[in-house]
Subunit: 319 residues, 2 copies
């Protein structure tokens, strides 16, 4: 059964609901990156959001939108990482239980955060079917409300608050780029842009190795049968059904990016912004640089989605 699609009013309600708990993240500028891109870049710094990613916005909105009786039974989800940590922290802000189904092989830093925020972790095999099955079992056993990482009205509305803040801080931009995994962030961004900055075009960026969104939009129907092959661990999920509908309605274009270009963009961001962005964030800058000539002289927003790099994998012994 299709979920009701979120509207801009839902985004505004989300902004009010999460305000006591979420950070208003800064918008960062870099002259060096402006010179490189040939346009004026405005980076919405979601690595500085609580739990290190925009995901806290949607999770927090979903948790606080629950009726009291539902909330008491807790929340559950499956997640390769950022959404799980975000939901764990959101549940803690309301003092309710949280269950997170985590596929084996998930990013260690993200797993550690989920546990640190006090959620119960349920491991499962690393397939989308296994994730969904395990989450359903947890739901039946506990009565927890499933909060889907992206195919959820309140989650999408919450993710839209990042773009809302970006437009409020910077005025109507000519274009805004965001990464695309399941499509929560990009569809929330599209809703906010359509309402506040109708002339602003919204572009998604997804890995070549998980390019189901570009294929889905080209085909006119969701193409969810694929095996992701990308180091962007936050973007391996399949585009959600409501997300697909919203991207179609708002005529969002999606660019596909090779992982090597994403890593190069990540390196630029670390160097110029001093922000520890993860690959799944850097892909949005990589997409812009790939399409550089189309954006010369414009004002462009880039939603840097998260910063949950596995710091333990860095060469500390050599520092």
């Amino acid at each position: 059964m299709p979920i009701p699609l979120p509207t801009f009013d839902d985004v505004l309600a989300a902004a009010a609901r999460i305000a006591p708990h979420a950070h208003v993240t800064p918008v960062l500028r870099s002259h060096a990156l402006d010179d490189l891109a040939g346009c004026r870049l405005h980076f919405k710094a979601e690595p500085l959001q609580r739990a290190g990613a925009f995901k806290f916005r949607g999770a927090c909105n979903a948790v606080w939108a629950l009726e009291e009786a539902d909330a008491a039974r807790g929340v559950a989800t499956h997640s390769s990482g950022n959404h799980g940590a975000a939901l764990a922290l959101a549940a803690r802000t309301r003092g309710i239980p949280c269950h997170v189904v985590v596929p084996e092989g998930a990013n260690a830093a993200k797993l550690a955060s989920i546990e640190r925020y006090g959620a119960t972790v349920h491991p499962c095999p690393p397939t989308i079917a296994a994730r969904e099955d395990t989450a359903e079992q947890v739901r039946q056993r506990t009565g927890a409300t499933l909060v889907h990482p992206y195919a959820d009205r309140q989650v999408i509305a919450g993710q839209g608050t990042a773009a809302l803040e970006l437009f409020n801080a910077n005025g109507p931009l000519d274009a805004v780029f965001a990464p695309v995994g399941g499509g929560g962030l990009i569809s929330g961004t599209a809703i906010a842009a359509a309402a506040i900055a109708p002339a602003c075009r919204v572009y998604g960026a997804e890995p070549e190795g998980a390019a189901d969104t570009a294929r889905s939009l080209a085909a006119g129907e969701r193409q969810v049968d694929f095996v992701p092959d990308t180091l962007c661990d936050g973007l391996r999920g399949a585009l959600g059904e409501p997300n697909f509908e919203l991207l179609r309605q708002h005529r969002v274009d999606v660019f596909t990016v090779a992982d090597a270009d994403t890593v190069a963009a990540m390196r630029l961001l670390w160097q110029c912004l001093k922000l520890l962005v993860e690959p799944s964030s850097a892909i949005a800058l990589a997409a812009l640089l790939q399409q550089r000539s189309r954006f010369v002289g414009l004002s462009v927003g880039i939603v840097l989605s998260g910063g949950n790099v596995d710091v333990d994998a860095l060469p500390w012994g050599r520092a």
Copy 2:
């Protein structure tokens, strides 16, 4: 000849002078680090300053405080990196020449920034005497004004604007920590704290392998004869004369920190703040954690001084 010591009025004048050019950097919070430290931490994020460090504040103030005729002949300095890059960028904001004497073996990322900002680089052997001699030769040849990295009234006043912003954003804190190399940042911080938040204690953090400030304060006179041995490449300089006087006047205490503790703190900051701080910044958090029991329950400011990590040294091939 001793230079006139800067006052709080100089800090206020600096704030007005640099406002058109410098960023007001955000103050970041982390619940995880608060829990670890047992106090409320307020991180002044100078890695997000232009040129990636607080140094731009002092350099910019010095450049824009020059009379027109002096400015036209340019500025010069010696620097292991951040001050050089900052002065190069500050000179570019005024459209005047800049000469930077750089010791061999300096951090590659910092050297690249100096060149990118259009300064002329003059290499020299890696001793303090060689740096000063080469800078003096450049000055005589070009007529440029030497802008010392820290023993300079306008530079110290400019560095004080970081603490000024921190207090303005957060109210009077109980304590504030900053790294100590030559003492520009810590002495500017002490001036600002004494004027705005007289109950706030100011603490410096310096590497065990360059602990001349702690020794100087203990002995009651500057102890500048030492060979630095620390990975904190921004903190290898000797404490300046005016800086020493200001630290004595303001009763600043300095803690010495082992490099291993600094690296551990850097890792925490990367992980929890998602900010690419360099070791010379992380030392301030390391000092607080070392002295943890003295600060339990307090509100503490930490000036994170810069983020010019040599990104090329990270394992990109493995990312």
